[in-house]
């Protein structure tokens, strides 16, 4: 049994509750022990534009607290995962900054230590649980449903630090979906951007970007999509209505799931246990085909 600190970041514990619910219910059933990590807080990623050093400080702080606990980190959010790994890399190479950050942390009684492993949901599912194990646990295969994997930018980039998937050809996501019995396939710009980071600048433009993604999926015959990033979920699922309204295209409708929700469905969990009632996109289209009621 592998044991991880469950690092939620900001978006998941403050509004994207379905990810947290599904992760908490699904992962232990796959043999992953989750240890709560409430003292972590925000990784600083959204604030790097204001002050890069502030970002380094916030992530370094999380790494240091985790290192003291002696457990690897499971980051559910793409941004958090990128953030922690990027900061590990920065701290490793920049001695001046390292000393500065160590000083800041020491004021609050924390010893800088970034010698801690960080993993993302997709890696835990693919590399720790493993495809064979997932396959063995499937009781409700997602047969005949063509699902577009949507890894999200920070699952793939920046590539100067280790990422869960290679930028050009993400494969892990699709192999998990295949293990669940779903159909997978190619569509243009699978590694593209949902636009979430543009929201503070201009929601209108951000929505247009998401619209392009949904259109690509629909054009290539996908019946649903899935992601592992709360930001992508926010755009694809929560804002789907607003996006349709913005671009004036009513056909841009697609059920959106967290990967943990799909794994949960396939291994027989009830929609409530996966927070599926919180998804705003038409997930019932898929549930119906599986013969599952959202009210279960």
């Amino acid at each position: 049994m592998s044991k991880f600190l469950l690092f939620l970041g900001c978006t998941i514990p403050t509004k994207q509750y379905a990810y947290e619910i599904s992760a908490r219910n699904v992962l232990p059933r796959l043999g992953i022990e989750l240890v709560d990590f409430p003292e972590a807080g925000c990784c600083g990623f959204p604030l790097k534009g204001i002050n890069k050093k502030g970002w380094v400080y916030m992530s370094a702080r999380i790494l240091s607290i985790a290192a003291k606990k002696g457990l690897p980190i499971l980051a559910l959010c793409n941004g958090c995962d990128t953030s922690l790994r990027k900061i590990k890399d920065i701290l490793k190479h920049d001695e001046v900054l390292r000393n500065e950050i160590a000083e800041l942390l020491s004021r609050e009684g924390i010893k800088l230590n970034f010698n801690v492993d960080v993993y993302h949901t997709i890696e835990v599912l693919h590399d720790f649980v493993g495809i064979e194990r997932i396959k063995a646990l499937v009781v409700r295969p997602l047969k005949g449903i063509k699902i577009a994997s949507y890894p999200g930018c920070h699952m793939l980039r920046p590539t100067d630090i280790p990422r869960p998937e290679p930028s050009g050809e993400p494969k892990k996501f699709d192999s998990i979906l295949s293990a669940l019995g779903a159909e997978v396939g190619y569509y243009p710009d699978k590694g593209g951007c949902c636009g979430a980071t543009m929201l503070p600048y201009s929601p209108k433009h951000a929505f247009k970007l998401t619209a392009i993604k949904i259109k690509n999926m629909k054009d290539f015959g996908f019946q649903a999509t899935t992601t592992s990033c709360p930001y992508c979920m926010e755009m694809l699922d929560s804002k789907q209505d607003a996006i349709r309204a913005e671009v004036g295209d009513d056909t841009l409708s697609i059920p959106v799931f967290y990967i943990t929700q799909l794994v949960g469905l396939a291994i027989g969990l009830k929609p409530k246990e996966l927070g599926l009632n919180l998804n705003l996109s038409p997930v019932e289209e898929v549930l119906e085909r599986l013969g599952v009621s959202i009210y279960e």
Partner: protein
């Protein structure tokens, strides 16, 4: 518009280089592959990473900062991924944002709110109640999720945050 060569400001480039190392904005040869890749550019054509790098190279960033366009970057990192010269325009943009803040420019309002929340709560937003499709309200409590605690309780920690991000409030 014409450009007077005397306006070239190499101090800006030096500051940016310091913030983006080990990337080297000076290597840029303007193939504009970054702009071909740019997610923001697809929906906001006036956003052009190669142009931002070229202007930064000359230190002519006043227009960029005044217009606030640097805040449009979607941070998808594609420009860095595909740049043949390891320039990483996204890192240049982040550096410009930092310089803008240091020079007293204000970031988008939402970002200010995020900074405020981080200082006060440790998160970019407080936990909110969400509305389901069935128009039911849910909160962490009703969803039986463990309550959130404030991660930054130590005064020094809060001081650190205030010092690092307080400037934008």
């Amino acid at each position: 518009m014409s450009l007077d060569v005397r306006l070239i400001d190499k101090k800006i480039l030096e500051d940016v280089i310091e913030l983006v190392k080990p990337h080297t904005p000076q290597y840029c040869y303007q193939c504009a592959k970054c702009t071909s890749a740019c997610s923001t550019s697809k929906v906001l054509p006036e956003y052009k990473p190669h142009l931002i790098v070229a202007l930064t190279r000359l230190g002519l960033i006043k227009e960029l900062l005044n217009s606030g366009i640097i805040w449009a970057c979607s941070e998808c990192w594609k420009c860095a991924e595909y740049c043949p010269q390891n320039v990483a325009p996204v890192e240049v943009v982040i550096a410009l944002k930092n310089l803008a803040i240091a020079m007293g420019y204000k970031p988008p309002e939402d970002l200010k709110v995020m900074a405020k929340n981080v200082i006060e709560l440790g998160y970019i937003s407080p936990p909110i109640e969400v509305l389901s499709k069935e128009f039911e309200m849910y909160s962490r409590t009703t969803l039986e999720l463990p309550p959130l605690i404030k991660p930054y309780i130590n005064t020094e920690a809060v001081n650190n945050l205030r010092k690092l991000f307080g400037g934008v409030l």
